[in-house]
């Protein structure tokens, strides 16, 4: 067992068995939150920042965050993508003050230092002063000054950025186990259909756990069972990379008979209500993917989730806002070559996910009710033994293996 220091110097000890316990302190401690900003978000990871399709033209930009650091993603004249910290090199003001748009240069409002699309300083007002008075010293060299620049990588239309000088190429970061699933969804150009934002009063890692937890799907989300739509909760599995940080959860339809039997034998509080959808057009679907899945929830460490639920396609971006809150940003998309029928299906099925999603609204709420209950007793811990204590791939969905995988890598990167 390892004893580590948190940022405020207190000793911190992960409880035993360490693969299957998580101390509640990690969800509330401001010192641990600060350490995460350094060791995870500014550490050797690729952070999701945008879809390529959000910045199609030279000059396009998007303001977003890595961890809680504001950043800007831009596309230059040559079509190259760049990312930099949104903080002026002069005295620290937010340079880009809009969410998105198109500009040739980014000019700080405070004293009008101006930057090119790579974040390089290109203009400084009153550099020589006025009438020989004031101004910068003769050795002041603007070419040595820039906004803090990040590394950028694009993988199949998804844009990532990293603070780290040493991080493997994005292909290796995803690894051979995750690439095929990533490519299954991002198999051709996409178009953004809209955004959905939620502000959740809970620690971001409670949501990271949620998307790696297939156990809750048919228990927390009662939509399918209430309406007698036999949920494909029992067929599927979990595929992680070797570190455990990424996880791909796939659910496929079992036969209705097998599914009904699974529900009847487990006597859940659900399934028996006798409701049916008054308008079943919501769930109409047609074959779309080579590998047909009703749900695929693909979590890429630290803060990206790629989802396909029926015909809805979206990225979910988890944006930490302090130890006890995060924003969840859904970016819905379609394929650029979708026909009208498919587009309408995606728009209608967006009812299933997002802030008002029939089968997703509860996820943030679940994180909140955990946060509300763990304010004290921070050395108490959660119990993660569903399916054992290992973090290895499984061919079932009644398992917390991927949650254990997340914490295994978290302990590693945090040095806990």
């Amino acid at each position: 067992m390892k004893t580590s220091q948190t940022a405020n110097g207190e000793s911190f000890r992960w409880p035993q068995p360490e693969t299957a316990r998580v101390p509640y302190q990690v969800f509330v401690d401001p010192a641990i939150y600060t350490r995460e900003q350094e060791q995870i978000f500014r550490g050797p990871v690729w952070n999701y920042v945008a879809l390529d399709a959000e910045l199609p033209n030279p000059g396009d930009f998007k303001a977003t965050f890595i961890g809680d650091t504001p950043i800007v993603v831009t596309r230059d004249r040559e079509g190259e993508l760049h990312a930099f910290v949104n903080r002026c090199a002069h005295r620290g003001a937010l340079v880009c003050r809009e969410m998105r748009g198109n500009r040739n240069t980014h000019v700080c409002a405070y004293h009008q230092w101006s930057y090119d699309l790579r974040g390089q300083l290109i203009g400084v007002p009153f550099r020589r002063g006025i009438e020989g008075k004031g101004g910068y010293p003769a050795d002041f060299d603007p070419t040595t000054i820039s906004l803090s620049q990040l590394r950028v990588a694009t993988y199949n239309g998804v844009v990532f950025a990293s603070f780290a000088q040493e991080v493997e190429p994005i292909e290796d970061y995803l690894g051979p186990t995750q690439q095929p699933w990533f490519t299954r969804v991002f198999n051709r150009p996409v178009r953004v259909l809209g955004y959905g934002r939620q502000f959740i009063r809970a620690n971001w890692k409670l949501y990271a756990e949620n998307t790696r937890d297939p156990y809750h799907a048919s228990l927390l989300h009662l939509f399918h069972t209430t309406f007698g739509i036999y949920r494909s909760s029992q067929g599927g599995g979990v595929i992680m990379d070797d570190t455990g940080r990424h996880s791909m959860i796939r659910a496929f339809k079992r036969t209705e008979i097998a599914e009904r039997a699974a529900y009847e034998t487990t006597a859940l509080r659900t399934y028996q209500k006798g409701y049916t959808l008054a308008d079943p057009s919501l769930l109409q679907s047609r074959k779309e993917f080579e590998v047909e899945l009703t749900n695929s929830i693909h979590s890429i460490f630290p803060c990206l989730v790629i989802q396909q639920i029926f015909h809805t396609l979206a990225t979910r971006h988890i944006l930490p806002k302090g130890p006890d809150s995060f924003e969840l940003l859904f970016t819905f998309f379609c394929y650029a070559d979708d026909d009208e029928d498919m587009l309408q299906k995606r728009i209608k099925q967006a009812n299933l996910v997002g802030p008002a999603g029939y089968i997703s609204m509860e996820d943030g709420y679940a994180a909140e009710i955990v946060q509300q209950a763990i304010v004290r007793d921070q050395d108490a811990c959660s119990f993660l033994e569903l399916g054992g204590v290992e973090a290895s791939n499984v061919e079932d969905l009644v398992n917390e293996a991927a949650v254990r995988g997340f914490w295994q890598y978290y302990r590693h990167i945090m040095d806990f």
Binding site: G194, Q198, T226
Partner: protein, 161 residues
């Protein structure tokens, strides 16, 4: 109907609509719409960029009923109450067959869960863009598009706006 009568009918419809939700009579909520209708809640972020995704998207009264059943029986959320304020009701088009109106709304949400019991927050503000028709002298929404300025939803959206 003359202009005054139309205005009265539209105001009465808006007020009846918000009282229905605020008094938690959601089972009556679909009755404010025509059988073939469109109800959607669109974050202003999407509306401003002409992006089609809505948070709730119901294109039939049946879909509205399904939202109510899910609200009562399927979805889980912290118990809460809404209080709508509607103002600046403006009739913007007066095709005799179909009245179009624009109205501001604000919703305060009061929590009834043990952690935040009795706390009220400003939950959502924005505007209604409505198309209203008369069926047997009853005014109904053929279309109600809620453009929510508040595009960052506090926790979740389950009760209609």
């Amino acid at each position: 109907m003359n202009a005054r009568e139309i205005r009265d009918a539209v105001e009465e419809l808006q007020y009846a609509y918000v009282h229905c939700i605020d008094d938690d009579r959601l089972e009556e909520w679909p009755e404010f719409f025509t059988e073939h209708c469109l109800y959607k809640v669109v974050p202003r972020e999407n509306a401003d960029q002409n992006l089609p995704i809505a948070l709730m998207y119901c294109d039939s009264r049946g879909m509205l009923q399904d939202r109510v059943v899910a609200h009562r029986a399927a979805n889980l959320y912290a118990p809460h109450y809404y209080r709508h304020m509607v103002s600046a009701i403006r009739i913007v088009g007066r095709d005799p067959a179909e009245i179009s109106a624009q109205t501001n709304y604000t919703v305060f949400r009061t929590m009834a869960d043990p952690i935040h019991y009795g706390e009220t927050e400003l939950y959502s503000t924005g505007k209604y863009l409505d198309m209203i028709v008369f069926e047997d002298s009853q005014a109904r929404f053929r279309e109600k598009v809620v453009i929510a300025d508040t595009c960052k939803i506090q926790s979740l959206l389950v009760t209609p706006l």
